[in-house]
Amino acid sequence: MSAWMQKQQARSTRAAAVASAVAEDAAELASEQRISMYTEAPSGEVCIEDFERYAIDRLRVLKGIEEAKTKGFKGDQLQELVVKLAEKHLRGATQQETRWKDAVSHFVLRLAYCKTEDLRRWFLQHECELFKSRFRNELPASQVDFMRRHSFDYEALAGEEYQVLKPDLVKVQESVGNSAFANEIKQATSRDAFFKVPFEQVPDLVATRRVLLKAGWAYVSRHEVASLVVSRFRAGLSHALVLTARRWATIIADEEADRLTPLISTLSERYLGPDYGDERKGPSEAVMAAQIPYLAKESFPLCMQSMYHRLHTDAHLKHNGRLQLGLFLKGIGLPLEEAMKFWRAEFGPKCMGEAFDKKYAYGVRYNYAKEGKRTDYTPYSCMKIIQTPVPRGEAFGCPYKTASPQELTEQLRAMRLPPRVVEEAVSKARGHHYQLACTAVFQGQHNCICESGISHPNQYYDESRKELTAAQGATATVTLGGAEHKTPVVKSSASAQALTAGPTPMTT
């Protein structure tokens, strides 16, 4: 650790010397400690336990961000929440440790999330959100200082050029509704109000016409510098992830085959919620084989529904499907004996008696850890299901990812969901937001709000059962009062607020 720290300190003192003429030293050091561009990997030693613990802590932050966005958080509200999450999970005992932990966890997750396009996209998106929130949380002076330090050496617009452009700058601010800032420009010679940068660096501001453009320069107001910094951060990280993927494949994976590789390759599949496998369901909650058909209709998420459907029509299901569906059924409380009954009945038309016992009974018992390594297997999380590659024509996997928009539309229509919900889900799925699509369907199906978002098929099931029993209660009371309609069950006022804040913005 120390070598890396020394280098860091050397760097900051050097940078401080350069910049001391312009800004207050205190602000500089502070910004440097709270945010990083992660341009250099930390060098030093870290024990394998910390390695894993740090990574998981960071994962909690990133998943928290994802969840918040699912709930419709945005703008300042989102920023505040993200900063809090980072404080909670990434803080070390000392400032040095905090910085160290931040760097290590970032680089470990880079390794874990570099392998596929999907993983990279997910990681990039949430790391950028984290970075942006932290950056915007800094005071303006400290932001400017951070930029200077990372050689965002842009000219601040001044002098004659500023005077000439002023009317146009005002117009841009007015057109986007920042009239207060527009007045400020009009009246005062507000110093350092704009930076002059090549337009390529602020595509989001260009796309929405939030900057003045002249001869290839974009004049970025000091309120929008975050976009500038984030765009460099994103470009750098995106590039780095691709490079890491290559290096991983060619070098690291082999060198670290016994130590890091197993850890790293499971990190991205790590699901941090309850695992639905350990909790033993009480007898009252046990599910019988005979109940499965109606439960499937009422409370299975689409992935399990379609596997069940496939099994039922084909009287067969291939290995991966048997595994995913089997573990899920175990998770909802289907005991081993009932599971045997269920599978035997479903395979019945094609494969009976001894043949079944020979070929498939082992697998069923295996799921319940009665065969093989005898470890208790837990049901798959959405993350794991989504990431398992699905060969053509197989029924497992997450349908929001694997089905074409047409197929998906049909399946959802068949569930008798309102067209609005179908549309929403299909468009989310198309934007690669599979779990958001699933959440939308859940909400449409149960006419309620799902605060936490869907991240596990068994969670889907459990919440669905809860909703349905609650709704039964609710309808009962309402009917007593004489009204006919079902009131939507809103679980908490916070979630209602979050939803009125609008749908999750699509990233542009």
């Binding site: 117009k171 841009v172 057109s175 986007v176 595509p203 989001d204 453009l213 001869a215 494949a249």
Partner: protein, 467 residues
């Protein structure tokens, strides 16, 4: 040379054109109209071979796409041209993608050989596209990917069918050309003044559309994200919904982005001088209803509608649409000047008057073409298979005098008697097209490409010293 035939058609710029049933299909011959013909006119397809043999400007075409790398400069990248994808459309709609050529001679031979009905230009890849197979394995470090591509735009009159009153679909005439002319003006001004691009090539697409190629090095190196951003910046008109145009104008203030205001000034001039009178946009009831639907203000609309209905069929010495536009403006001004009207109403009217111009006349970009590096676009100097017209370059500075109906055709060049006035005129027109190509585009581009190669070598040398 290995070639790849693809039965499935890639999405191309003028897919819509090819679906039109009208016009004679390539390969069939028709009689020329007008004066009784002495001999049957040859089909466009028949004339392609001689066109590629003697008329296609290979020198200019290749000089452009080489961007200075065909020079003897020691720093030139000799493989540059060869990494460019060209796509040939052979007779019978067979697409042959990923063609690439070492140099002008090789291209010339291939075109004479295959006689493509159409040539599309794709991106420059990291490796010769003919050798891409070696790079599409699973190893992540051997990828086949586009690295450079002109920023392109495609505007087509068919996208204006809801506002064109002179004709629809493949139709084009002097009354609808102003829509294209103002599109060139608006986009060209943005590209030059806002984005600082200099090397911009405008091309007539052969029938009723225009293409724009932005060839500055900076434009060629843009990522897909940046391309989308530029396309979005330029898109004020965003399609229509339920018959009403969707416009990306400021919703929060009367002020618009300076770039949008400049567009408005250009639109306004084109509107009053040509588009409004020539498209007869207020001449009859369906037309004025469409305009009033944007104005919305009940009082103003009712008054005008009533007046215009009563005066229906009235003859006028001037242009009826222009007169009515003036009336409409007067009505709006009255409200704006009146003390009793409230602020919101005034604001709405003020905005609505601008919206009419954007809804009817703002350039309607096919943004999908611009967003991705690897989108194909038809090459300049191709022949349009239906019209036989050459896809000639246009001078944006004199775009209003461009006449799409007088564009040189392959028939004029190759199917008229040698030495006849018609043949001479065609020769002349082709020569002028090449002059435009040089004067508006190629000469400056060549100079700047050369400089950029030298500058790169110099900075590389300096970096070498510094180490």
């Amino acid at each position: 040379m290995a070639e790849e035939q693809e039965a499935k058609r890639p999405r191309l710029d003028d897919e819509k054109e090819d679906m039109d049933a009208e016009g004679s299909a390539p390969g069939t011959s028709g009689l020329s109209t007008g004066a009784p013909a002495q001999r049957p006119k040859k089909s466009v397809q028949d004339l392609m071979r001689p066109y590629y043999g003697s008329k296609f400007p290979y020198d200019e075409f290749c000089a452009w796409l080489a961007y200075g790398h065909d020079s003897k400069l020691p720093q030139a990248d000799a493989m540059f041209f060869q990494r460019r994808e060209l796509c040939f459309t052979l007779d019978g709609d067979i697409f042959v993608r990923y063609q690439s050529f070492k140099d002008k001679e090789e291209l010339q031979r291939a075109m004479a050989n295959k006689v493509p009905a159409k040539i599309d230009i794709g991106p420059i890849y990291n490796v010769d596209p003919q050798r891409r197979k070696a790079y599409t394995g699973l190893a992540a470090d051997r990828v086949f990917a586009p690295v450079e591509r002109e920023l392109v735009f495609d505007i087509d009159l068919t996208d204006y069918d809801d506002v064109r009153t002179c004709g629809k679909e493949a139709h084009i005439c002097s009354a609808c050309w102003p829509l294209m002319a103002v599109a060139v003006q608006v986009i060209d001004a943005c590209l030059r003044e806002d984005f600082g691009f200099k090397h911009i090539l405008w091309v007539f697409s052969g029938r009723r559309g225009i293409h724009c190629w932005v060839c500055d090095e900076r434009a060629r190196k843009m990522t897909d994200e940046q391309r989308s951003a530029v396309a979005s910046y330029l898109s004020v008109y965003r399609g229509s919904e339920g018959g009403a145009a969707k416009l990306a104008l400021s919703q929060v203030s009367a002020a618009n982005h300076p770039s949008v205001e400049r567009a408005l000034r250009l639109l306004y001039a084109a509107w009053t001088e040509s588009i409004l009178p020539q498209q007869r946009l207020l001449a009859d009831e369906p037309a004025w209803k469409a305009v009033l639907a944007i104005i919305k203000d009940e009082e103003v609309c009712e008054r005008l509608h009533g007046r215009w209905q009563r005066a229906h069929g009235r003859l006028t010495s001037g242009d009826i649409s222009s007169e009515r536009w003036a009336e409409l403006s007067t009505e709006i001004d009255k409200v704006l000047d009146s003390k009793s009207a409230d602020r919101a109403r005034k604001q709405q009217l003020l905005r609505a008057r601008k919206e009419v111009l954007f809804a009817f006349a703002y350039p309607r970009l096919d943004v999908e073409v611009s967003k991705k590096m690897n989108h194909l676009l038809k090459a300049p100097f191709c022949i349009h298979p239906k019209t036989g017209k050459v896809c000639v370059p246009m001078d944006p500075g004199s775009i209003w005098s461009f006449d799409p109906e007088a564009v040189v055709t392959v028939h004029g060049l190759l199917d008229e008697e040698r030495g006849s006035p018609k043949a001479a005129a065609a020769e002349q027109a082709m020569a002028e097209a090449l002059q435009t190509f040089h004067g508006c585009f190629l000469d400056e581009l060549a100079a700047s490409s050369r400089q950029s190669i030298i500058a790169k070598a110099r900075s590389a040398a300096q970096a070498g010293l510094a180490w």
